[in-house]
Symmetry: C2
Subunit: 336 residues, 2 copies
Amino acid sequence: MDIKEIARRAGVSTATVSRAVNRIPTVDPKLAKRVWKVIDELGYVPNTQARALVSGRSRIFGLIVSEITNPFFPEIVQVFENTAVQYGYEIMLSSTVHDPKRMELSVRRMIERRVEGVAIMTFGMEESVLEHLTDRNVPLVFVDVGPARPRVSNIRIDYLRGIRQAVQHLAALRHKRIAFITGPTGLKSAMARRSAFIQSMKEIGLEAAPELLAQGDHTVEGGMLAAEKLFKMRLRPTAVLCSNDLTAIGVMRTAFENDLRLPSDLSVVGFDDIRLAQFVVPPLTTVQMSQSELARIAFEALLNDVERDTPAPEGTEYRLETNLVLRNSTALAPGK
Amino acid sequence: MDIKEIARRAGVSTATVSRAVNRIPTVDPKLAKRVWKVIDELGYVPNTQARALVSGRSRIFGLIVSEITNPFFPEIVQVFENTAVQYGYEIMLSSTVHDPKRMELSVRRMIERRVEGVAIMTFGMEESVLEHLTDRNVPLVFVDVGPARPRVSNIRIDYLRGIRQAVQHLAALRHKRIAFITGPTGLKSAMARRSAFIQSMKEIGLEAAPELLAQGDHTVEGGMLAAEKLFKMRLRPTAVLCSNDLTAIGVMRTAFENDLRLPSDLSVVGFDDIRLAQFVVPPLTTVQMSQSELARIAFEALLNDVERDTPAPEGTEYRLETNLVLRNSTALAPGK
DNA sequence: AACGCCCTTGTAATCGATTGCTCACCGTGG
DNA sequence: CCACGGTGAGCAATCGATTACAAGGGCGTT
């Protein structure tokens, strides 16, 4: 059933039907009403691909995340989708699973569907394959790592703020040996968190000794492994700050296995504030980086770029703060 | 840049370009090579909407879940998407957040984009709005609750099997007072789990007393609330079986707050086996219902229906088992 | 009464592919 | 030498919308 059918039954031309459907005010209300009646009766729904073809606008945004099964992302997907729907957009979701091949395939698929913009939430891996998109002038939004080009936006995250709060919180609780478990070395955002930790420690005259910087990979398993190493040290750290919440959950798990009580024997702080953080035992003190804010900003960045016809030559920047959220996984250092 | 441009530069007709792109064997290899060269040089990518328009096939499947932020679903999304990509399909994801209005809107959007099939993973809520889809002969796949109609598949879940294993496991550990925390009353799959529990208890001569059936809602908070009630009873249950893992996590959390040690003071069993279940403290014994299997079956059901021209009049049925996975949240009943 | 303008509606081109049908060309067999 | 079949390429219709432009009708003005 197409627009012609409607036109025939309503006794008007397809142009009029199209105008009625798109609520163009110049159509005679009488006619419009007749058209709508037929549309309702037949349950006509316009074909988006036909529309997209002639208008040149797909009304689709791409969303590339590194792993949808990482609890950090579903919230982003949810908010991004909600916002998109509000503006009449659809989203094309793709999970790269940290694989450049898959990233490339995703980009290809998105170009085939003629996305009008893409949000890249991989936090700094494999952006090289994206030149196909920039070549085509597709608006992009990155977190921190986008190049300064027209139609490329960046959401700058203030990692230092939240991490500094976390470090000072631990210091206030008399912790001196504070360990940090990093994320994957290749991940820019993980490196930024690490630097923020080192700087925050320096600021208050504490040493971020190399042996207190353990290597993690932003998974629970990685957190467990790193924690095992830390717990084997002669002088065990009394507090652990983690590059993300999953890592912190791993630490908590290993602490449990080693009969360390939280928070009395060990304080743990996470990063991200995934929803789950408030439900673990004990509820996790963590640095919040609002996923819903991030998603909302990303969407708006794309929308702005799509509607702008002369883009800023260096792209646009947005900011997102981070803040410590106190729960129950931190306490006075043991023996103090 | 379109197919005409390629045709012009390669000195052939658009028909030949189209045939070369689609690897139709009748084109002269010489010509095909020439066409491919131009395509590579210009970075031409065919326009999917144009293709979809003429072929009448969007190569999009819809996937409706109740809440993407529920950790049960991301794994499904991941596997569904992977499989789809393998077969050259795209997926349109939608999260209803248990709201019939949003479900209706999703369906509308999917019809606008002319999806070729829809997987409905809401486990039994609000399927009424789906008649727009069945009217249009769009293949559907449900979990348990789909009507018996052509082009409607059902994945039947054997809840009883896994739940019986769980109940017998607890009974073997000498638990007698075994509580069950249900899911939302309106959710068919939750009701099925409840019935399976009652039946399993009866089978081994234990009573599923009404006061041991607590009302939950498949969220952590719901689990906490239900657990609080159960813990206030004069004769506290020694084991709790939960309608899903989130509920179980809530119970563990409340147990912790009430200084109940797991598993020595209380045994807890979940349902679903979300990935997180192995990472909580202690690792959760739970009934596995494989999310990746579920997603794979759902995709295949749709694919089968799309390719079949004379569908089975009563739809097709698929089966999925459930099985208990032993971890460390269960132990001998206290005092035994 | 005639002219012209404005407002609404319709005709037809267009978006970018696919594909049925026609046609040209080649080789083969009578 | 001609007819015929087979093969591969091109022309043009088509999918379902939007929209530039043309056309027609009504009304005000002179």
